[in-house]
Every structure is written in structure tokens, then in C-alpha cells.
Amino acid sequence: MRRWFTCFAVFALGWGVAGCGQRPAATASAGWRAEMKQVRFAVRGAESDPTMATLWSVYRDYLSKAIGLPVKLYESSDYNGAIQALSSGQVDMALIAGGGYANVDAQVGDKVAPILTIRQAEGSMGYYSALLVKKDSPIHSLADMKGRSLGYVDFNSTSGYLYPRAKMREQGIEPDTFFGKTSFAGGHVQAVMGLENGQFDAAIVEEGGGDPAHGFTTGPQFTMARRGLVDLKDFRTVWVVGPIPNAVFVTRTDRPQPFIDIVRGAMAALPYDQPDIWRETGQKDGGAYAAVDRGFYAEVIKLRAADIAQRRSGGSAKASKPS
């Protein structure tokens, strides 16, 4: 009799059936929250696009409810902020571009893993990089850019630096010597602003919501046009490369597995459970999150390593912040 009461006491103390000789049932469900206390989520700053502020706010609230822990957003003003926070373990998860993940992978390897990216309605899981010029520019091709000034987005930008440079090299153009001057604008919207203001002859920025054959509907100039800051008709696209693997949700792999599973499950369920919120956050209708792993970003990882090796062996980016 005493033995049964011992079992009951153990049960009452929260051990479930474990005290009666069976496997612990609740080990994975409660303790990890006490361990984590909060979820730290690194995102890019939203100062240039109000839609992003909505997106982060919605993600924070939604994930906090799903995970059962407060979610604290760490907004960084540049690409490197999220990369370093993730690599150092100061945050638990982040939404970053493929090039950013490649940087993290080079620093800490499998301590950070991709979990989800967007699959668009038509099945693509990528976006594009486009060379934009002003509509009255004499530049009509990449070749016309010889000796001209180019605005990159950021050293860690996939579509605004890494990917187009690799594709230029594939086409026989060495980006470190071909252009007269290169600059880092600091962001995609800033790159379009620099182009609009005449700081450089062309800017290389992300484009999405379509493809080269059908045109694009998302990208910094579209964001700015919706806010009345520019007129889409003022720009012309002269060169497009891609698709580039979409931005990715990553988590630290040394965090509790239930946390990772909940984040992946809750985010994957979002467009189906709450389609209005999905659209409200600027996500495209018909898109959904799909699970990915490191292999999905293998090309970006390879391109980044090659770009760094190229610059170390031969030249430098010769890029500077626009004055």
C-alpha cells in the first residue's frame, strides 16, 4: 500500500507516470521553457519599410503565444548585427538572407541550422537580383557599366552583393576591377535612393513576386513607390540573375528541440491557420513556409567562400559608404 502512495506522491509532484517505472512523459514539455525563459529573435531593422515593422510585430506576438514564452525582437540596423548575434548565441533564432546564413555557417557551422523558407505559389523558392538604372540612363546592359559607378547593398547581402558578383565572374566580368567605383548603400531601399539621387549610375537590388519573363512585383522600388517616394516608371532593369534561395528562418541547434519544433510548426501553419495575418504581413498569397536544411543554401555558401577567396588573393571590393 505504501508503495502505491509513493507512486501517487511522485505523480502529484509532477513526475507523471515516471515514478511508477515508466518512461518520463513530460520531460520535453515544461523544463525547456524554464531553461530558455524568453526567446530572442534577430531581425533586420524596419526603418526603411513600415511593412517590415508590421511583420516583426505580428511574428513576435504569434510566436510568443505559440511558444508560451515572451519573444524579444533584436532589430539590427545592418546585416552583420543579426549574423553576429546568431553566431555568438546572443539570440535563439533569426530571419536572414542566404548570404547571411552562409556567413554564420562559416563561423559556427552546425550550431545554427536553417528550418524554413518560403515556397511561392508557383513553386519557386527563390528571388532575384536586378541591376537597376534610371530610365533615361545610357546604360542598357551589364557591359555598358564598364567604368561606371555601382551601388551594392551590403557586404553580407546575398542579392545586393554576393550573388550578382559571382554571376558577373561567370560572365567574364571581374567586379573588383570592372566598375569605376563601387559603394555600399547599407540597404536595398537606400540603394534605390542612392540611384534616384544620382550617387551611382546603377544599383543592384533584390526583386521578387515574379520572374524575369513576367516581371516583378516586389522589391525596394515597389516598396518605395507604394509609399509615394518614387515613381516606378523612373527605373529600368538591365540585368537580372537568380533565382537565389529565399531568406531563411534559422535557429541555434543548441536550443531545446521542443522550441525548434514549435517554431517550425507554428510558422509553417501560419498561412493556413491565419491567412489574413499572412497577407497583412506583406507575404504573398499562395506562398507558404517549407522546411529546408543546409543543403538548400549550399550554392550560396560556396559562392560566398569563393568571393572571399577571390578578394583575398587578388583584389579588394574597393567599396565605400556613399558620402
Binding site: W4, A28, A225, G228, R264, A288, A291
Partner: protein, 280 residues
């Protein structure tokens, strides 16, 4: 006798605890039986699946033999099992108490993208059924532009013969032009094409103010993993999170768990009513 009452109560609590700590999966075997742990000779894929769930959920995973999908649905609704693969007919029996959470995307298949059916805004058109006999135009011949809207319409009872004529325009803009000109009475686009069609250059712009959405919904799933509606969100999200990555993280488990779907590429989440016959 009275002395044994506390023990009986304790035993009941322990039994309830054990039940709550397990995940019971309905298995259509042609005959009913009690839930039990997987037997030693179970297929390797099934064993891998059960081990994966056991490890990730920290619960015992039990298999529960049921006669057929209808019996699985009833067992799910009554609380005798926790998860079952149902078809629309079986789901219809228990839809008040259950919801779909996952289906399978086939190799080469798209997301279950929503479809928009629209007419000109002039004139009252209460619902999809009222469009019978009108002509419909689709926005292209790609899978997302034609096969997906056709499937969604057929799922809603607007399959072959429902419309007087079907046209396939070059793209969404051309299809909308046919609707606006009166050459077609109904426009059927996937939601991504509809969004692009209607997105103006500025935030406040709406290029589709002259059109009216009559119906919007996803193609119905043919089979789905279904749980009770009162399942805690945490368990539902964990189940989804484990399943959507299974094709990457545990291939043998995925092959067995998705064997009810042909050419399975991956699990994908669903809306609650993914198996419902009615308009969503």
C-alpha cells in the same frame, strides 16, 4: 473494502496520466483492437516513425487498430485515438470535433494555393452555385493558373459541365480583360495571380475595384492527418514541426508515414477544413 477505495482512485489517476502521456495513432487494419505499443516485427519505417515521435514528443506512441477510415474518425472524435488519416467522407462524420493539420505535397506539386473566383461587380451573384451556365476564363495554362483553379472549382461542385464554356487566356491580365469586356462571365485565378492583378502601384490603389470575389478557397485535400479540435496548440505545432521536416531529417520514417499519399515529397500543414466539402 473501504481501504481499497483510495488505491482505486490512485490507479485511475495513474491510468489517466498514462493515457494523456501517450499519442495514439489510428491504424486501418480491417479489424478493431486495443491500442498497443508497436510490435518488435513492425516494418522498419513504421518503427522509425514511432521512435521519432516518441523521442521528439517525450510520449509513448501507441498504434490503435481500426476497421476503416470511418471507424478511425469515430475513434478520434470519441477520444479513443489522438490522430488519424481521414478522407473527406470520414471527416464529414466528425467535422464538429476534429480538424485537419497535415497533408502531403506530391513530388512536383505546388502548395495548396488558394483560388479566387470573381465576376464583374455589377449585378447580384450570391455564391458560386449561381454561376452555373456562365463562361469561365483562366489566367494561363501553367499548373498554378489552370490545374489548381480547375481542381478547386471541381471540389466545390463546379467541375466539367458546370460552366457553359472554358477559355484559357495568356495570363491573368488577359483573362481579366476578357471578363471586363464581357467575353467571359467568370474569372478563375490562383490567389497569387489575383493579388498581382489587383496590386496597384501605391498602397491605396486597387486595380480590381470593378470586380467582385464570389468565392475563395483552396483545393480540397484528398487525405489528411486529423486531430481533435481541442488538441493543445503546443502539441499541434510540435506535430506539424516534426512532420514538415521529416523528409529531410528522417527519410525512412517519412516514407512510411506518408505511404498513404502517392509520390510524396513532404508533409505540408493544412487549414482546419482542408477535407471539408463545403465552400470555405
Amino acid at each position: 473494502m473501504r481501504a481499497w477505495l483510495p488505491l482505486a482512485a490512485i490507479l485511475s489517476l495513474v491510468a489517466l496520466s498514462a493515457q494523456a502521456a501517450s499519442l495514439r495513432i489510428a491504424a486501418v487494419t480491417g479489424s478493431a483492437g486495443a491500442c498497443h505499443a508497436l510490435e518488435a516485427g513492425a516494418p522498419a519505417g513504421e518503427t522509425a516513425y514511432f521512435r521519432l515521435l516518441e523521442t521528439r514528443l517525450g510520449r509513448d506512441i501507441l498504434t490503435c487498430p481500426v476497421v476503416d477510415r470511418a471507424a478511425a474518425a469515430q475513434a478520434l472524435a470519441s477520444g479513443a485515438v489522438d490522430i488519424a488519416v481521414l478522407d473527406p467522407a470520414a471527416y464529414a462524420l466528425v467535422k464538429a470535433k476534429t480538424r485537419a493539420i497535415l497533408t502531403v505535397r506530391p513530388i512536383g506539386g505546388l502548395n495548396r494555393i488558394p483560388v479566387v473566383v470573381a465576376t464583374k461587380a455589377t449585378g447580384p451573384v450570391p455564391d458560386l452555385a449561381a454561376l452555373r451556365g456562365k463562361s469561365v476564363v483562366f489566367g494561363g495554362s501553367a499548373q498554378a493558373a489552370l490545374a489548381v483553379p480547375r481542381q478547386a472549382l471541381a471540389d466545390q461542385g463546379a467541375g466539367p459541365g458546370f460552366f457553359s464554356r472554358e477559355d484559357v487566356a495568356a495570363d491573368a491580365n488577359a483573362a481579366a480583360a476578357r471578363l471586363r469586356s464581357g467575353a467571359a462571365g467568370v474569372l478563375a485565378l490562383n490567389a497569387a495571380d489575383w493579388e498581382r492583378l489587383c496590386q496597384g502601384e501605391r498602397t491605396q490603389d486597387n486595380s480590381c475595384g470593378d470586380l467582385k470575389v464570389i468565392w475563395r478557397g483552396r483545393p480540397r485535400a484528398t487525405l489528411a492527418l486529423v486531430v481533435r479540435r481541442d488538441i493543445p496548440d503546443e502539441l499541434r505545432f510540435r506535430l506539424i514541426g516534426i512532420h514538415v521536416a521529416m523528409h529531410i531529417e528522417a527519410k525512412p520514417a517519412f516514407a512510411w508515414a506518408s505511404s498513404w499519399a502517392p509520390q510524396a515529397a513532404e508533409f505540408e500543414p493544412t487549414e482546419a477544413e482542408a477535407l471539408a466539402l463545403a465552400a470555405r
